[in-house]
Symmetry: C2
Subunit: 397 residues, 2 copies
């Protein structure tokens, strides 16, 4: 049998993400490519204990069907977190738990995108979210992002043009590592507020600011137009698939009904495990440890870049998250560096697929996953690949 | 802010399912309404033990990101199960694990339905699946189902008319409890084979046949045109959200890419817990116990129906699953019985929402969830509601 696939399936963007995850996991391959957190930071004993205890303590109802919006005690906890730490009002009724934040993006696309709608995305921007939204057939247009955040007039023009959605990661962005300045946050919220555009504020890395949160949430400035999305994947464990979103009241009912249609309910057992774990954990201390470890890894990584790469490429020093944004000289093709690295045993993530336009000379590097030894060995490969690809490089250097 | 929702979100069917789950869980309310398994059958100790052990034994990689198609050892187990027990060839590459089988239906809709496509569904048929598919805007047409299965010529006509999909539950169907006869299975597979129609064979209740499986899988007769879907929700625990599908090779690549876009990956931690549990369990004995308990509950339930309801309504004796299909006299409105029951403290599921056409005099009853005491108390309420609604009933009866 050969059957053609639907328009929406045919229109889904290709993604390097899973392909690279596989390439990066081949024996002997070093990976700076993925978006994986450092698994050595996961609290194996703590989560194993909570997994057993919550099942025994809660009884069989914890294994039964639950509600579409997720495990209520965790929704309560997150609503309190929104009010106390994120600066915006929320009740459990505004909090929807999902199977990872990818399901939040799918829900938002389903709720708001008709085929052909204009959608604003950061340029470069997170490929996984764009792949998700692409199933709904929007016309993506890019808003350039740099070290202080997005090009605000660029966003303003797209909102005026009728953009239905704007997807943003204001803290330690994937792929660039850039964070929005306070002024950019205020201006972005002001543009969105009162418009017909819904902003998705993806906070996947918000907890991983090396000096605490990088800035105020935009959700606190334009609550009615903003869907705030969070995830435990970078904090507790991605395999638990716990994403969440804080939605304005006017969309909560339709959001839950739409989610019921696509997945009935999320994984309430893992949500209950997480809630048990969080109730026993000093979350502040836990997160400070993650920040400290990631900052240390970033410093080692960028020191090695300084040692090995400074003659060939430039990069930024991020204030949190997991990523460094590397640029080879203007006019060069970083895909050559990528291919050369793969041949030599290092996976890196080419930057061009994250772009609506441009970015041929960019590469995303993840400093969170590799060990120090892997960083050193990988950096040698990366230098060699940069040398080969650099038109200015002297032979024999 | 008020923003209109998208065409696909606006087109999603209403569902009584979650609403009734909530009504049924109000204090003091007895429920014959839901599709919940009997939670007293869940193996609390066993699952709690596996949850702890798999995390400690597998180490931190079990908490890390996994693959879009799910936890490989469980895919291997299910492929073997397909070959040995379900009669069709499958390798782990044909098996895709999902967040519950609802995600399978969403994936199938996304892969194959363009807005306006013709889609065949059983009449009556499972409302949750129709709600899921409705987001993709098909024109549903019904194939009547009775005690021996579907009206085969009805299906044949729809396939000739160009149906893109046919969604079926051949074993102990939801809502009717009916199973397809062997002849209907063969004829259905023959119609589908070589056509452009993809059949979804939903096996949610296939393991719960009181005398074993009710018949051969249609997947074994027309493997290239059939997506077989299974679920651990009725076997181990719904809160673990483990659904799975066996797909023909020609669609596996596109299916995984499409699923990556919508959810990145399923809940591999719960999949690993299930795999550990299954590796330690005599699955045959486990399932035989479920069958025995459900058969016993069905017998008690239908004995009570005989005692209380035989003057007012008719029903079938199912050969497995969780449901009994009750009919009030032709021309009566079972919604009156439903509303009367709710007022008196019993939730039942009206049958009309499961229908494309007809079914005003039908009600779905779940015998798997209530205790014997609840059955007895609920049956009294149901009799009283039937009496009130029966135009033939004598006053004072």
């Amino acid at each position: 049998m050969t059957r053609s696939f639907s328009v929406q399936a045919g229109g889904i963007l290709d993604s390097f993400i899973m392909q690279l995850a596989e390439e990066g996991s081949k024996p002997g391959m070093i990976s700076f490519a993925t978006g994986l957190p450092d698994s050595s930071l996961f609290d194996l004993e703590g989560l194993a204990g909570s997994a057993r205890e919550i099942v025994l303590r809660s009884g069989k109802e914890i294994l039964q069907y639950g509600s579409t919006a997720g495990y209520y005690p965790l929704r309560e906890r997150l609503a309190g977190y929104c009010r106390r730490k994120l600066g915006f009002d929320a009740s459990p009724e505004n909090i929807i738990l999902t199977n990872g934040s990818q399901e939040c993006f799918d829900l938002v696309g389903r709720l708001f995108l008709n085929r052909g709608d204009l959608m604003a995305v950061e340029n470069p921007g997170y490929l996984g979210a764009k792949q998700c939204f692409s199933a709904y057939g929007p016309r993506f247009k890019g808003v350039d992002i740099g070290p202080g955040g997005i090009d605000v007039p660029g966003l303003e023009a797209l909102v005026k043009e009728g953009a239905a959605l704007f997807y943003s990661i204001p803290n330690h962005q994937n792929p660039s590592g850039y964070s929005y300045s306070d002024q950019v946050r205020r201006e972005t919220a002001s543009i969105i507020s009162g418009s017909d555009c819904v902003l998705v504020e993806d906070d996947a890395y918000g907890e991983l600011g090396f000096s605490g949160r990088a800035g105020r949430t935009m959700k606190s400035m334009a609550p009615d137009n903003i869907i705030f999305t969070g995830s435990f994947s970078k904090i507790l464990s991605p395999a638990m698939r716990i994403g969440w979103m804080a939605v304005p009241g006017w969309m909560a009912g339709q959001a839950v009904k739409t989610l019921e249609a696509s997945s009935l309910q999320p994984g309430t057992l893992c949500q209950a495990i997480a809630e048990d774990y969080l109730s026993k954990t000093d979350y502040g201390a836990y997160v400070r440890r993650l920040r400290k470890v990631y900052r240390g890894k970033m410093e080692i990584f960028t020191d090695l870049m300084e040692d090995y790469l400074k003659d060939y490429v430039t990069w930024n020093i991020p204030d949190g998250g997991m990523f460094i944004w590397m640029k080879s000289p203007e006019g060069t093709d970083a895909m050559r560096i990528y291919r050369s690295c793969i041949e030599k045993g290092l996976a890196v993530m080419p930057g061009e697929p994250f772009h609506i336009s441009g970015g041929k000379n960019t590469i995303r590097l993840n400093f969170a996953t590799p060990s120090e030894e892997q960083m050193r060995a990988g950096m040698k490969i990366l230098r060699s690949a940069c040398q080969e690809s650099d038109p200015r490089a002297k032979s024999g250097l």
